[in-house]
Amino acid sequence: MLGLEKKDFQLLLVVAGLTLLAPFILNPFPESSAMAQFNAGYPDLMQRFVIFGIFAIGFNILFGLTGYLSFGHAAFLGVGSYGAIWMMKLVSLNVIPAIFMGIIVSGIFAVAVGFITLRRSGIYFSILTLAFAQMSYALAYSVLTPITGGETGLQIKSTDRPLLSNLEEGEIGRANLFGMDMRASFELNVGDWLFTFNAGYYIAAIAMLASFYLAIRIFRSPFGMMLRAIKSNQTRMSYTGLNPRPHTLAAFVISGMYAGLAGGLLVAMDTQVGPERMFWTASGEVVLMTILGGVGTLIGPVLGAGAIKYMENILSKINKDVLHQWFAFLPDGLEDFVITIIYPFIGKGWHLTLGIIFMLVVIYLPGGLVEGGQRIARALSRKKTSDEDGPKASTEPAE
């Protein structure tokens, strides 16, 4: 189906189902219940889930397949965002050209950066990419202020008159798709539940599904095989008459364009760009997303992106008052005690929880969340067929 093997097609279907039904799935708790705090089904966060999913999928094409760890990938996200917002400010408020501009600008930037950085491998490559990203960040923050808006970034202003728009005097342009506002939402109110179906989210979701499909095709294609071969043994690659560098460069550029797509979408959903988007911590974040989810797996990066963005946006909003409401049923002394225990980990302490989760996942689930899922699945199936003991992976012969 669609050029995919059955298993991959099923995976695509599952992801498509989850993505399209996300407004339901992410809002499991009734509005008036205390657990509503954990609902994530509002447009901004859903958009971020899929956009950072795209970013991580793209990153995984490079890192998961070739093993080249780029530590400056956020630069492409940022550059794509700047490209997209300038397109909106100058040419058209339609998101399609803006997103394409983001992809193209990032692609060109990736060709230039990749051409230089791919001369080195391993940590030397990582540091080179980091250096390029940090330079982009530092310059965007300071001397490039006329182009990037510096610290305060770029937004669409009332003075912006894109060529292909008919804005009224003083009207602030809004991102749209052939007239449909990105922020337009339908709300479905079922009893105490409220589900929001946001136009922007579905555009981003479709982009994510397309990216995911393309990623499967790349993973399964001979090109993907070449990239895995590069990771496995560059020496054999060269002595088989294949030039690793253009292959890696192609992967790097594809990966950069994915980041550009994510950057363009960020702007399309929320018309604003700031240079922090390119800071090294943002590059580190996508590495963490990918590893947390599962390097080299198809679905892992999306899960990782979701997990980190969920913590960033949901955990950080829980404050002491919320805790008091949750635990109001406990006797006073116990309530205070429980809150004292939990408080350091939520709200302003959400970084602490993030750090602990990273450590736990790496220590106990080296394959990331995907491995966690597999273990659970295996445990369940073992219950069903407990006698089936698969052949142990043969040990590696001593060399």
Binding site: I123, I127, L128, A138, I291, G355
Partner: protein, 343 residues
């Protein structure tokens, strides 16, 4: 001329800080093969050893002073440090004043212990894991450590001044025959430079001239063989980790008067110190030191206004620009060995 001498001084001083951190990072990488993203956090913890000691020294009991009022108009509570009670006001103040140098003694055992616990409790399980896992787990640890510090000490910088005796600056200009005031340099920074040089020298001497050091160096070159000789290399590596933690911690202690410590100072240094290590060449101790000084000096020159007038923004990117140029001309950094972290 004066400007150039001054910036060389500056570069040496900055460089000594970079070199010191990079040295610890390289010790860990070279001996254990672990990429330690928590190294910046060790530096930060070192700095907070100084903060903690000065808090301990200023532990006090409160007395109500009826003659003064606090901001709400109530009778003021005045804090009286216990050291005043014990040693008298003058000696007590002198002890508090010398909190930072005293912290060196305090930090060494603390940092060694932190290092041992980290290595035994966490790092040793990651020797055979991919570098990506090491990076992630140590990065997670770094976040945890800094959040713990933030929880207890807050997010704002905490002033930890150098002893009164070291305030002010030495006039190199006058000493070298230039006009006075043209080349001045703070005493504490001079001390920092000397201190860093001593530590660096001590580490090299330790590795070069002691049997322990020789075993470790052999282990760095070929771990398995040394293991076959019946030497318990693991235990030595644990001690090495403790040493590296102590080096990072001491760098942090001595740095506190230069920049007031805050909980994220480790992260601020982390990226920079990695750049230094890689530019020096992964696993090369002399490379790390050389790169530290080189980048320190170049950074200082790039911050001169005469340079910025020609190339605005150069100070923003100089470190990275130099890193790119060096890595493109010397594939494994200044003194890197082949095949180390290249795959």
């Amino acid at each position: 001329m004066e400007a150039i001498i001054l910036q060389i001084l500056n570069g040496l001083d900055k460089g000594s800080a970079y070199a010191l951190i990079a040295l610890g990072l390289t010790l860990i990488f070279g001996t254990l093969g672990v990429v330690n993203f928590a190294h910046g956090a060790l530096f930060m913890i070192g700095a907070f050893c100084a903060v903690t000691l000065s808090r301990i020294l200023t532990l006090s009991h409160t007395i109500i002073d009826e003659t003064k009022t606090d901001f709400l108009g109530n009778p003021a509570k005045v804090e009286v440090p216990y050291v005043h009670d014990i040693f008298g006001v003058a000696t007590g103040d002198a002890i508090i004043d010398w909190a930072v140098p005293l912290s060196i003694l305090f930090a060494i055992p603390v940092m060694m212990a932190v290092g041992f616990i980290m290595e035994r409790g966490l790092i040793k399980h990651f020797y055979t894991r991919p570098h990506a896992d090491q990076i992630l787990v140590t990065f997670g640890l770094a976040i945890v450590l800094q959040e713990v510090i933030k929880y207890f000490y807050g997010a704002n910088p905490i002033p930890t001044p150098a002893p009164q005796a070291f305030t002010g600056s030495f006039d190199f200009g006058a000493a070298l025959g230039f006009d006075p005031n043209l080349i001045i340099y703070p005493y504490w920074r001079i001390i920092y430079f000397v201190f860093a040089a001593l530590i660096i020298g001590a580490v090299f001497a330790f590795l070069q001239f002691t049997t322990f050091g020789m075993v470790v160096r052999a282990g760095m070159a070929d771990r398995e063989t040394v293991g076959l000789l019946g030497i318990n290399i693991d235990r030595r590596f644990t001690i090495m980790f403790g040493l590296a933690a102590a080096v990072a911690g001491l760098a942090g202690v001595m740095y506190t008067p230069i920049n007031s410590p805050n909980y994220h100072m480790g992260m601020d240094f982390l990226v920079l110190s990695f750049v230094v290590v890689v530019v020096g060449g992964m696993g090369s101790l002399p490379g790390a030191v050389l790169a530290g000084f080189l980048l320190g000096i170049l950074e200082s020159f790039a911050s001169m206004r005469e340079v910025l007038a020609i190339l605005p923004g150069l100070n923003q990117i100089i470190i990275y620009l130099v890193a790119i140029i060096i890595l493109l001309t010397r594939p494994r950094g200044l003194m890197g060995r082949k095949g180390v972290m290249e795959e």
